[in-house]
Symmetry: D2
């Protein structure tokens, strides 16, 4: 029987120490501590780890952290939405996003050519420069062959980038596939369409990529998932695991709730009914904004794994 303990501030307190204290604090802090322990366990047990996130997190400064996690061997498979791909490429090619406010005059912003994502701003010109870059990439790819699975295509682009903080860059160099089941749902899609108009035999093969995600793990692998937010990123990773016998370890960090039956809000409990999470799995759901909960939960796990020599360097 575990007992609630009084939290106390200690001078020079580390993240690891705070997350340890969270284990007996209460409510979501307990969940966060458990999530950290599940993340440690999935690595310790040699599970193949799916890391999933949505595009707004790439808009934020979590983007470089995702890249770092790939380089440290904490992500074996990435699933994200196309906005995340686009913004990673923008940042890798020099674009910068601005810290703004939630409460602004949105019409005025629009007139200034600025797009808002919560309290972050993206200038239109970042999109314009992205388009030029993307077209150049597509020409290079098409010169090799006309039919591409999405994850193959993203790997090729990753190899063309030169930014160690880039998700695509690190993924390409560490053989971590990036799956994006709705590749056309963004500016990327528009440029694929324009490109296909000029090259009718150019094909983006999403069905082939379903094979790739199903076969990138095996029935015998232990499998873990760290799902940030909801959307198809989360669903796609869990589906791939389900088709391989289900998942062993799961961590969901989200703001969505389970009361409306959405995939985004579904907890690790609900996942058990789908066989998405195996009966004996270790799982934790943390309700909260991932820009706070994820660095905290993950940094504590990394400290421990580093101590155990389980992180990869270089």
């Amino acid at each position: 029987m575990e007992i609630v303990s009084d939290y106390k501030w200690e001078k020079g307190q580390t993240i690891q120490r705070m997350v340890e204290q969270f284990g007996s604090l209460g409510f979501q802090s307990i969940q966060l501590n458990r999530a950290s322990e599940v993340a440690i366990k999935m690595k310790r047990e040699g599970a193949k780890i799916f890391l999933t996130f949505t595009s707004n997190m790439v808009t934020s400064g979590l983007r470089g952290f995702f890249a770092q996690l790939i380089s440290l061997g904490m992500a074996d498979v990435i699933v994200t939405t196309v906005g995340g791909i686009e913004e990673d490429i923008m940042k890798a090619t020099g674009e910068r996003f601005i810290i703004g406010n939630f409460k602004v005059d949105d019409l005025a912003l629009h007139e200034q050519g600025v797009n808002r994502v919560g309290n972050l701003f993206i200038p239109n010109e970042s999109y314009e420069k992205f388009e030029d870059k993307l077209n150049a990439f597509l020409e290079l790819l098409y010169a090799k062959k006309p039919r591409w699975a999405v994850s193959e295509l993203l790997k090729e682009i990753g190899l063309l980038l030169d930014d160690k903080d880039s998700i695509l860059y690190q993924a390409a160099r560490h053989n971590v596939p990036i799956f994006c089941p709705a590749i056309t749902d963004g500016a990327f899609g528009f440029h694929l369409y324009l490109f296909q108009q000029r090259h009718k035999d150019f094909i983006v093969d999403v069905v082939e990529d379903f094979k790739n995600i199903v076969l990138c793990i095996s029935y015998d692998d232990k499998k873990g998932a760290i799902c940030l937010g909801g959307s198809i990123s989360k669903h796609h990773a869990l589906l791939a695991c389900l088709l391989n016998g289900g998942i062993n370890y799961a961590v969901y960090l989200t703001t969505a709730r389970d009361t409306s039956g959405s995939m985004s809000g579904a907890t690790t409990d609900e996942a058990k009914s789908w066989g998405k999470i195996k009966d004996d799995s270790d799982a934790a759901t943390v309700i909260g904004d991932v820009t706070i909960t994820f660095p905290l939960m993950m940094a504590a796990a990394l400290e421990q794994l580093e101590t155990e020599g389980l992180l990869q360097h270089g």
Copy 2:
């Protein structure tokens, strides 16, 4: 200057009357009243209407309402997730979903072969029967041609169904395209993959379908969107409108919040900064579960539009 009015129950009160009273009640009820008025206006003004929803809503009894709205001419374009497609086909071929509870023993459910979506249950055998049906459909389609855009493929399936309460059935018969930008993110994707293993030249062309959604409306059309929940359904519809000069009328009904910068939680205000909603558009965001807010908001709008002779019958 509008004044808050005291709501009073009246015997035999209709939906239309209640939603009218909501206009001066307060908080989200005011938003719901505005949403209803925006829905009326977009139809009255002859806008092309995008209706977007997520799969959990098709799990629920909103599914037949979506089909009805298509038949009444209230939806010119549908965007949804693949789970919604799958479950519409299941229901159209006789499967029934069960009313359960949010708080259950999920491992026990799993052992009984039952999958949970919030407080609704789907038996495994509904998925098994779906697979047989889907394979038969794919054979018929492939016999016609090997390369299909997603919306073409869904139309063909819709024509093969025989259920007036089916979204695909009504959409196929009313020339309402159904877009599904992540067609592989579900059991559907798994069967496409198995099918492609047997027929290597079978291609699902998502890039072609991006052309279809962009060209299904024109720059000159007035455009409206009714977005239920978030996800790629909402994003994809708004993107297609943006590439055609932006949207004139927008209604968002969602439980997601704007405080984490997610697409699902983005309000109609934020959309202005992206040019997704035109500066002078009419727009309303209602926070709440769509199984309550949507029937209420839309039934009130339908009453008014019926009175004005603006609904299509047959």
Copy 3:
């Protein structure tokens, strides 16, 4: 085994019919239907009904509905916060609140002497006029006796009002006590303090009022609670019932969640662990804004109860 049914719009649809259809729709609509049935049942079974709400609901147009419910015999005990008392008196003495917006320039509002409650505005002058009225009331009361329990004091004020849409007016005339455990937490408290400065023997006896709420029901009564939102209103009603053997029927309508352990977000499930809700009770929790869910849920219940001749008139 209940089955999900497709919702369909019907011309001239009534509230009662829609809420009936909600019973097989899904997610929160099912909860709302259950809440309506629990409300019917508590009246049918002759339970003493506690109705609790927070001040923002009195700011909204629900205020007149609360008064109506008292007059119809649907509320035997009221528990609310002092802001609700103040605003009911303001409205009863002619003040009007304005429909505004959630997103405004709050500093500009302040300079205009306008206070914001969500998307509703209250002018400063409404508060100023309230103060004059309240002082006059206190003088009249003090002339009778110096020591008052809160509910006695509110009844006296109710008798001095002349507005059938007033909660205090109807409560006073139907012998429905209004409890307000934090009577000083508002402008009311400030004026009590100024009054006590002039009359040192003037006492507001909150401990006496605890006796009143505990004794206003008995151990043998069947007890029901309809709790809108959270806060001390909800807690106080449940506590009074708990001290009388627990509650038989409970309906919670709220936007708060159970994930942070707050009283406001506690569900009817959690209440069982406290003995607040009896083991065999009928209970339902609906997540959503009460300005939408409450009129809907309650109007459907009223229709049924009227048919059964269970509402009181006059």
Copy 4:
């Protein structure tokens, strides 16, 4: 113009460093960084600091942190709900709360005599022992005088406790008043009532305590508020400041939203319209569970203030 920066894990990372990085991360992490800076600023500027919280936070391990903050001079006035008072006394007299789960069989818990608060459990016997203690305290107080303002009464009890982790203990010894505007809304109220039955002249004077909170600060003081969660705790503190010319610095940490017009969800923006926060004030609202956000935000602030020699020791 501030730019989004990529977050990176660093070995041995401290809380202070992480919260610094949050300043350019995005969404709620930016808000948390701002909240930390506002907390530093209010102390640096010599503001009188109101710290408000709800009872569930005292159920959790934040209780000892609140006591520590009082001893460090980071709280000049406390406002809380009576459940928080009760549980602080329980813990101070040896009771221990248990770490449980959100998803349990609540009827079974009830039969075991265990009460649930989110994922924490409180045994019935803790309440029983509390009652004995409280009666003894009341006898001691009554022997001194029959009429008590709430904050006086709580100070006396605090002086009788012997636990450095107790809020009441530290507050009594540092002359920090504890206000509790609804002192009867809990087991405390029940025992006050039983006591008053035996001693008719025993009076708990809430009106006197309103004077105390209004006069514990002056118009000329700089004033700050750190409000955790909502409820009357938050409202009462802001009201007291408003009556003294408004507040200069405000930090709100909450899970409640502003879309339903509740006090709990009202942001620091809305407070400006009420003059609750002065026009030129520094303010930040962070959405999230306080068991995560508060230790993080506050520990970072304490590190900085310790460096500047602004914390009190002993």
